[in-house]
Amino acid sequence: MNTPSRSYSATMAAELSDVCDVLQKIASGDPFVRISEASDIEILVRLKKQVNLTAQNLLEIVDLSHEFAIGLAEHFDVLSRVAGGDLSARVSGSSSVELLESLKIITNQMIENISLIMAKRQNSEEKYRALVENMQDGVFILQGKKYRFVNESLARMHGYTVEEMLEMDSLSLVVPEHRELVIDHYRKLLAGEPVEREYEFDVLHKDDGIRRTINLSMSVFTFQGKIAALGTVKDVTERKNAETERQKLEHQLYQAQKMEAVGTLAGGIAHDFNNLLMGILGNATLARMHMDSSHPGYERLKNIETYVQSGAELTRQLLGFARGGKFEVKPTNPNELIRQTSEMFGRTKKELTLFPNLQNDIWMIDVDRSQIEQVLMNMYVNAWQAMPGGGSLYLQTENVILDSSFTTVFSVIPGKYVKISITDTGMGMDENVQKRIFEPFFTTKEKGRGTGLGLASAYGIIKNHGGFINVYSEKSKGATFTVYIPASDQKAGNDPAPALPQIQKGSGTVLLVDDEKLILDIGVQLLESLGYQVVTASNGKQAMEIYSRCRQQIVLVILDMIMPVMGGSETYDKLKAAHPDVRVLLSSGYSMDGQAADILKRGCNGFIQKPFNIEQLSRKISDILQTHPMNSDSPL
């Protein structure tokens, strides 16, 4: 057995000490340390190899753990940034560890998905915001009395900021007198009771004294787990004001139309009445002129003349009179109404031929006479306007009994009715026009010629009398308006009869033109008493013939305005064209406006309104003859 030498032992000890140092470093976590494996002692060589192998293995484990740590740190960093809202963060580092690579893919994919969801949400939110914040209507969410959300428009509507409104009691914005209404509506809505989806009320603006009218539409929904109301608000103040203005305008137009009809009526009455007064005045004057002033009847005749003047004043007032809308129902004979209104209308519209066909023993009707006259006048005017070149107007009255199968359609009671038919031979209407004919403001006339209220008001008046109006028409075949008014059991009352009010002589022949025999008779006598010779014509055509024949003798033409065959206006123009130096005094029962004023503008010498007395007539004639002397050299 060999005993180890001292040098062997020393070498062993020294090299083992080296191994110990290396192991100590490995134990402290240093995976990079290595030891020289060279040794004369085989066991030490093997030991050192094992030590180096251990260090190498440790290095690999350390590298792996560090790889994990760095990878984990990067993921932690990226996720922290994402959590903080930075959706651009991505895991970018590569790793030899398969698990980390997979984790990187999943993490980045997750962030991509979050980014997409967030982008969609943001897009949706932007759209919602743009919609809610830029819409004209106010939008709010209300819980209890508090707003949970209001948009800018709503805040602006009330004059507050959004922040101020979120702090307010919503009811404080409502005007005190509408608060009960709003509370009741809100309570019913939340309770699920039937309630109008939209309604209107007044709210207060922040600035004192300014009230706005709003239209509110609300529905119930759940907001943050609690019941709430979602509302939209429209400021309808302008619309409301416009509506009020329109109603006012409608009323004004209705009034204007009514006034127009009454004016036509009054004008007709005044014309007739003035002609009558003319007769009375003329006769009274003539009788007085042939009487000594000491005669007992002289003063009475003077009184008659004064009363006639008062009567003439009354007709002047009548022309400017507009009825106040008082509803005076009296038993009235419809035939009488038709006769009076149509005669009056026919007198002013000579181009129409009227054909009345009125039933004998016609039933009475309980009506406001003036209103039915207005209805009839409106219908005559419509018929006249439908026949611009003239035509025929058929007026018919008839007693009829209507049963429920007929009256139900028109919502009236079955029974006895008086049927009034007005048929024209005008241009007619198509179905579409017929459907709308009674609508207020519907008109087929050119602007300025019709308000569209005539038939609408006629419809309303007849409806108010418990009757109805029907229309039948075909294009180019005229139209028939049929008015049904309930018959009355009463007899007609009697309307009271109307109450009645220095001479310059001349010579020469006066041509007196008038279609009224009464006027011609009295005119001749008045003129003759003034020293004139008189020739008469009952229309314009005749006047033209006489003047052409006797122009050398005729010093003046007294011309009536409204006449058949050829009216005053046309006669004047033709006379003037043929005989430029003709002297013409216009005479009319109408006041001096419209046609008369136009003729005067065209060079007519004067105007005298009927009734006139002998003094007025003598002065007028004398004035004209003096201021417009005849040209004796005239070739005509």
């Binding site: 470093k25 753990s65 740590a69 740190a73 903080g84």
Partner: protein
Amino acid sequence: MAVVTLDTIGVKCPQPVLKIAVIAPGMKPGDILEVAGDCPTFERDIRAWCLRLHKVLLSVREEGNNVKKIQIQF
């Protein structure tokens, strides 16, 4: 600009890096983190972390006893 210190002396790698990772989200751009450590792989790990997370390694200072102080700018 804040300077934050972190002592990882006696803590074996890779724990210093994991500690830095936890602190990092609270650091603002421009802030400086000064980390002290004595693990043999400390510097190597910090360098790798800076490289991966795009942070600036400002300095590495030997403090003796295997201790190093590393400054990182965020």
